[in-house]
Symmetry: C2
Subunit: 216 residues, 2 copies
């Protein structure tokens, strides 16, 4: 199987030197790529400006902004069976980008606009034989919000993960499927979690699981 995984943060330029970023290290994406490779699958990684090392055996495409990541996902998804959106894509970008360096003077107001929703855009070009998995990073134990995203973005599986996961070596996640099935996972290393998630993602191609027979 060809698996497309996005990883890391995006950086949205304010001016020639400044940007808006987020604390994603890219470790989750790297762990998922490793687990997929270990399961004998071919992996393409679309990677923002990460600090974590990525497995050399994956094909790697580097991007910086949410717009560049959107473009690469729309280009690459048609050539893959499975998409896992593990990147922490910026929701907002500055409306105006100053080409030079803004000088220090008085107050600075940065007006931001929403970026395109990459997961939703991928959902719109998804073919019946393709599957997609998303992540929902929430600051409270807000499972219903993750469930709403699962449906709205036409995902086949979503990972609810608390905000503390970001830039941490461990994850305490809940998996949600469209038919209402949930699986609460114990706190564990990202590599251990990645093995579970790759297994569940590959199961999405099993007709019995698609029919929603599993529930807990």
């Amino acid at each position: 199987m060809n698996i497309l995984i996005t990883a890391g943060p995006t950086h949205e330029p304010i001016d020639a030197v400044r940007y808006i970023g987020n604390r994603s290290s890219g470790r989750m994406g790297a762990a998922l790529a490793e687990a997929a490779l270990a399961a004998g699958q071919a992996v393409t990684l679309i990677v923002g400006p990460v600090t974590a090392a990525m497995p050399a055996a994956a094909r790697r495409i580097d991007v910086e902004t949410a717009a560049q990541m959107l473009e690469m996902v729309l280009t690459e998804f048609p050539n893959h069976e499975l998409l896992i959106m593990a990147a922490a894509v910026a929701d907002y970008r500055p409306k105006q980008v100053t080409r030079e360096k803004l000088e220090r003077a008085g107050t600075l107001v940065i007006e931001c606009e929403m970026t395109s929703d990459i997961v939703a855009a991928a959902g719109k070009i998804k073919r019946p034989n393709q599957r997609s998995v998303g992540f929902s990073l929430e600051s409270r134990g807000n499972l219903s919000r993750a469930g709403e995203k699962l449906v709205r973005k036409d995902l086949d599986l979503i990972v609810y993960n608390p905000i503390e996961t970001m830039n941490s070596p461990t994850i305490e996640a809940v998996l949600l499927w469209p038919a209402g099935r949930q699986e609460k996972l114990n706190s564990q290393s990202k590599s251990s979690f990645a093995e579970v998630l790759i297994h569940r993602a590959i199961e999405l191609f099993d007709p019995l699981v698609q029919a929603g027979s599993g529930s807990s």
Copy 2:
């Protein structure tokens, strides 16, 4: 001699996951620390969230924000003879920091206020037997602005460097001293430049150089 070097960017939080950052890699600070160590000096590094590796032989203090870097510089400078401010400290930080993750909804306006000027604050506590070196990153060939900073911040030497230096392996710099002396350096690797700068910085303790005898 005890040399205090600041390196890397700072990250100024917007909310629990987002921040304003800049493209500094920390490579210049790392190169300066290596050159100072090679010259037999003791080095303390105050380091923002860098991607570059720092020399293990330096004492290292990690910080995230401009406010944390200010605090550590004011704490550490009295115990060092020489301060080199190679960090690309944020000029602005969001006025309000949201503890949770801001949800994606409509437009976002980030109001920013100026951070404290660390170089100027260090200048105010500088004793007669101490020296300080700053950097002036400018988007145009604006040497006069670097010269103005040199005087206003009570520096003994300033490095004018064009904005293209940031996150680049090379630097094309001009050194400026208070008495009007200038030295234009050819484009070179950061490690080669760092050797020159450490040499010039140590010369600042030579009484003849202090008298402003050198000019070009």
